[in-house]
Amino acid sequence: MTDSKYFTTNKKGEIFELKAELNNEKKEKRKEAVKKVIAAMTVGKDVSSLFPDVVNCMQTDNLELKKLVYLYLMNYAKSQPDMAIMAVNSFVKDCEDPNPLIRALAVRTMGCIRVDKITEYLCEPLRKCLKDEDPYVRKTAAVCVAKLHDINAQMVEDQGFLDSLRDLIADSNPMVVANAVAALSEISESHPNSNLLDLNPQNINKLLTALNECTEWGQIFILDCLSNYNPKDEREAQSICERVTPRLSHANSAVVLSAVKVLMKFLELLPKESDYYNTLLKKLSPPLVTLLSGEPEVQYVALRNINLIVQKRPEILKQEIKVFFVKYNDPIYVKLEKLDIMIRLASQANIAQVLAELKEYATEVDVDFVRKAVRAIGRCAIKVEQSAERCVSTLLDLIQTKVNYVVQEAIVVIRDIFRKYPNKYESIIATLCENLDSLDEPDARAAMIWIVGEYAERIDNADELLESFLEGFHDESTQVQLTLLTAIVKLFLKKPSETQELVQQVLSLATQDSDNPDLRDRGYIYWRLLSTDPVTAKEVVLSEKPLISEETDLIEPTLLDELICHIGSLASVYHKPPNAFVEGSHGIHRKHLPIQHSRSGATTSVIPSQGDLLGDLLNLDLGPPVNVPQVSSMQMGAVDLLGGGLDSLVGDKILLITTCSTLQSAELVLFFMYLIVVWLPAVKAKGLEICGTFSRRQGHMYMDMTFTNKALQHMSDFAIQFNKNSFGMIPTSPLPIHTPLMPSQTIEVSLPLNTIGPVMKMDPLNNLQVAVKNNIDVFYFSGLIPLNIFFVEDGKMERQVFLATWKDIPTRMNCSTRLRNTVSGKLQSNNIYTIAKRNVEGQDMLYQSLKLTNGIWILAELRIQPGNPNYTVRELPQRLSLSNRGISCFLTFPFALDQGSPTFLNLRATSWVLSHTTGTPFDTLF
């Protein structure tokens, strides 16, 4: 039987002839005709005009013919919706057929016909098929629900098909389960309720059971679905992992990769020190290596994923670098990916081998590959310091080959090596200069010019070399022009006597003859600098350059975490989040790695008021804090309150909220960190963004800041200054940013602080005004200092003194606040000390003392009701005595501000309310 003949007809009257044949009396003839129609459709001819004739052939008991007609229907029904209705009867009839294959075929095809009128008729048959006795029909119906949802989501919900699908998860047939899971997963991607599957331990158990029994494809659906589940604790995570690990030995690479995804995600939840964690890491490596012996396309997918895994958990594959060595017969895309991973795995231990390999690769044929290999050698030099020398000599060998693109690429990376290790390898400059003439790519020319300019004093004929470039100045690319300009200015500053003419020439070329504003501007700046103040010019142009970083092309950590959640999928192949290449409503739910729940008891009881107080918690982009200290949601709330500009609602509660959140986390982190707040947004500061937080560590206060350069130019000359403030807080050292901040670069600094500066009462009290200067401008911002960073370590008052002091405080100022039970230890870690404890009227009373950096003592009485451990913060203001709002702590303060010896010469109690609205003027206290 040869069907190829159907492809060959192309006469003019073809359609007409087909029409006649379709209406032929003989069955066989009609079948032949339908085949011809399908063949014509395949090659792209429009055969839609035959619609009624083809549909007429539908009533047949020949399954093959029926399938062909269905195929035609699926393609053309949308263009002829009215005609398509003709087919409905036949479909509905087929859905009742005694043959399950036909029932399934009918429901499968109906789902593919995207015509509203037909969809209406689909509901009843579909409902029956979902409960069909035959699993083949049920598994087809499950997918059909997803089809219907794609056409009319509302109808699927209204008809209760989602519930039917959920019921199928408990089906006895594993393939039905798998298809139901696939359908639900897809629907939930575009559904507002992302947990349509209702993943709970029972359902997970059902899925894990089906996993052992269904087809390879079904296993993939189930594993992909499992990866979206967040186990409630490490025990559950471990038991799921145990049941997923056997899949790593499956021959289907997609099953393996999906299993890897589940394991990589759940690893986050397992305690690092546990045996199981380490066993699991060991188990992951062999299957990943085995993926590389598959077909090249799968190897490619595997390599793209391994690239992510190596960045996330380098320990898994660090011993396996050899398997990433390139084979002669690998397709180019596999070679390039392997090279990438080799560099990531390169370390001191294996660098000799890696270099030997890279040197081999640099003699291959494929230009891209060779270039990448040469670049890789440079990256090795920068990454592994011990190997730098060997790398440089390898690069020199390669330059000797005189292969044009090898030489050019080598020179570009050598420039980077010079930047990383200044004054080490300059002896090779002579060799580089020999190749000056062969450079024809802008990158390489610019690199060479930069080298000549930078080391002009060591190159005798630097002026000649640079002059040679000057001849065709206007034909050069901008990059080369700019570099050349700078290089000649450098040369002039180093050897002013011989090169005056040259520098004048380049300045006039750049300023007068050029159309490029960048070039002109730079030219003018140099010109003016040189003509007004050569000393400053020297400082500017020949200033010390910042070192370049080691890892340049790492994927940004939050993106990396998201991509880990997409292992095996297209996102992991493109290294882009799905929304970067998927349109529409699919993938609206971004995926995060699971966050390890803290294992202390402290978090088990959550303060109920959380929701009210921390209303805008949701707006915080929490990101996945993976390895950072665990931050409970309560803390984040506190931070948000502190940082987000205290509005009238919460201004009074700072102290207590911070204390409470400290209680929550005290067992985990001794002194909790505040979440970072953006103090200075980039739009307000010409591209400079500062975010940060205050903290107290080992008795010292710090301002931890992150500077990000979002502008296109680099920033330098940073300085910081504080305005006078309530606590006399000033930085103890200048801002530790010594290197210019490159565009899109980020730098983290920790500024030590003390409180010996001038004091002025601020409003609110803990307000701090800061000025930051850089080479562009001066910027101002203000932030609120969390009070507890001022609590000093020696805030424990003698019991007697405490009692005496306490009594001297007028009762009218007495005010009590309540906190949870067993808090003293936790308080203490934040330098709030419990002095005494007693029981009054069934309530525990805690007497606390704490001391601020400026020597002010705060005494407080905490009343605890044993039966009500979750005493809430919210109710506090009702018990206030002095001010209507805000917490009050009573405080006494020493007359002398001498911090070393707090002597209570004149004990006078004043209320000091931590509120910007009701605070008594601070300076009246003195």
Partner: protein, 447 residues
């Protein structure tokens, strides 16, 4: 999920096109416009691209194309979603397997001849872009080239088909009968080596496959055993006699990793390390494995290169066969690279034939057969053209090809037991054949 699947010939003409999803384009008149666009986009950007293909996944206008090539036929899967990429490729491979199972070679002619069948298959194994059971054994029961008349089949037969397609053993149909129950096991290994001139092993690994051909009746339960170190150590731990351990313990091998055909019960392997399964009928690959320890290197290459002045090289290469003298290696080929400026070569070899191939820049030395524990030698004088290039010749490694009748990893099949309780045959009645073939992978010695 997969939005559409297309098959092209080498010219970029569409032979098969099946669209599963609307999102990849509107399927309205006159002919699905998107589909044509996508079809053309792929042709222009991939099939007709001048450059070598740079990636098996191409993104054109937010549409992703996955392709594999078989001879000069292109299979392309298209999607607009974030699909499981590994799955799409595995599916395309599977699709090729299924087509091969139906009409052997994948060629333009065969595809055109079977286009109705292919559409039928595509309808069955991909539903809304979700791969369904795609085991050719099961598919062949209800998708045939003859076309089934729906009413012919009785009800039992129908439900048998559906239960197999959806069942746990989708790769085998029931009711298979053979007069002679027979099975063939092939252990196929490729041994890879990189050796330094001094004879130090820089890297060596074996990647092996166990391929099975089974002609067994009914639904036989099989158990496969090999000299896996973990299993054998475990058995000895259970207090086997010292005789046993002397017999088997020494020859156990450490397997780095293995993967199995989907018929193997993985959870059982994970917990007990036993390989049990109900095999598909006919040819299939039971497992793949990788070993790196205690590899028997069948050949050792000892190179000696001496530069005599600037225009002459003397090369002497000795190969030693390192296996039992009773075994014979076949198809031995040694490639000795020569410098680019070679002008003439004189070769003398003790055994086989040797020739200088200028186009390959190598001396190729072929020996048909060689017994174990033997040694053979070749010596060559290479005349060089004087060049003024300072660049030294980098001396690529000497590579080797061969085939030996044993497994270089040391893997031994210990047993393959067959149990079929319903039918009337026992393990003893099954005729079993085992064969070991070791081939060279990348087998190189630096000189």
């Amino acid at each position: 999920m997969i939005g559409g699947l297309f098959i092209y010939n080498h010219k970029g003409e569409v032979l098969i096109s099946r669209v599963y999803r609307d999102d990849i384009g509107c399927l309205s008149t006159p002919y699905p416009s998107w589909e044509r666009n996508a079809v053309d986009a792929f042709r222009v950007n991939v099939i007709h691209a001048r450059q070598q293909v740079r990636s098996p996944v191409t993104n054109i206008a937010r549409t992703s194309f996955f392709h594999v090539k078989r001879s000069n036929i292109w299979l392309a899967a298209v999607t607009k979603q974030n699909v499981n990429a590994a799955m799409v490729f595995e599916f395309l491979y599977k699709m090729c397997d299924v087509m091969t199972a139906y009409f052997s070679k994948i060629s333009e002619e065969n595809i055109k001849n079977n286009f109705v069948l292919i559409y039928e298959l595509l309808d069955e194994i991909l539903d809304f872009g979700y791969p369904q059971n795609s085991e050719s054994g099961a598919l062949k029961t209800f998708i045939t080239q003859q076309g089934i008349k729906s009413q012919v089949r009785d009800k039992d037969e129908q439900s048998q088909i559906t239960s197999q397609v959806t069942g746990q053993i989708g790769w085998r149909r029931e009711g298979i009968k053979y007069r002679r129950n027979e099975l063939f096991l092939d252990v196929l290994e490729s041994v890879n080596l990189l050796m330094s001139p001094q004879g130090q092993v820089l890297s060596a690994h074996v990647s092996g496959r166990v391929v099975m051909k089974s002609y067994l009746s009914g639904m036989p339960e099989c158990k496969f055993g090999m000299n896996d170190k973990i299993v054998i150590d475990k058995q000895q731990g259970k207090g086997a006699t010292s005789d046993d351990s002397a017999k088997s313990g020494k020859q156990s091998i450490a397997i780095d990793d293995c993967t199995f055909h989907q018929c193997v019960r993985l959870s059982k392997f994970d917990s007990e390390r036993s390989i049990s399964f109900i095999p598909p009928d006919g040819d299939y690959e039971l497992m793949r494995y990788r070993t790196t320890k205690d590899i028997i290197l069948p050949f050792r290459v000892i190179p000696l290169v001496r530069e005599v002045g600037r225009t002459k090289l003397e090369v002497k290469v000795v190969i030693k066969s390192n296996f039992k003298a009773s075994l014979l290696a076949q198809k031995i080929e040694v490639r000795i690279p020569t410098p680019l400026n070679t002008s003439g070569v004189q070769v003398i070899c003790m055994k086989g034939k040797a020739k200088y191939k200028a186009s390959d820049n190598a001396i190729v030395w072929k020996i048909k057969r060689m017994a174990g524990m033997k040694e053979s030698q070749i010596s060559a004088e290479i005349e060089l053209l004087p060049t003024n290039e300072k660049k030294k010749w980098t001396r690529p490694p000497i590579s080797m090809n061969f085939e030996v009748p044993f497994a270089p990893s040391g893997l031994k099949v210990r047993y393959l037991k067959v149990f079929e309780s319903k039918l009337n045959y026992s393990d003893h009645d099954v005729i079993k054949w085992v064969r070991y073939i070791g081939r060279s992978g990348i087998y190189e010695t630096r000189c």
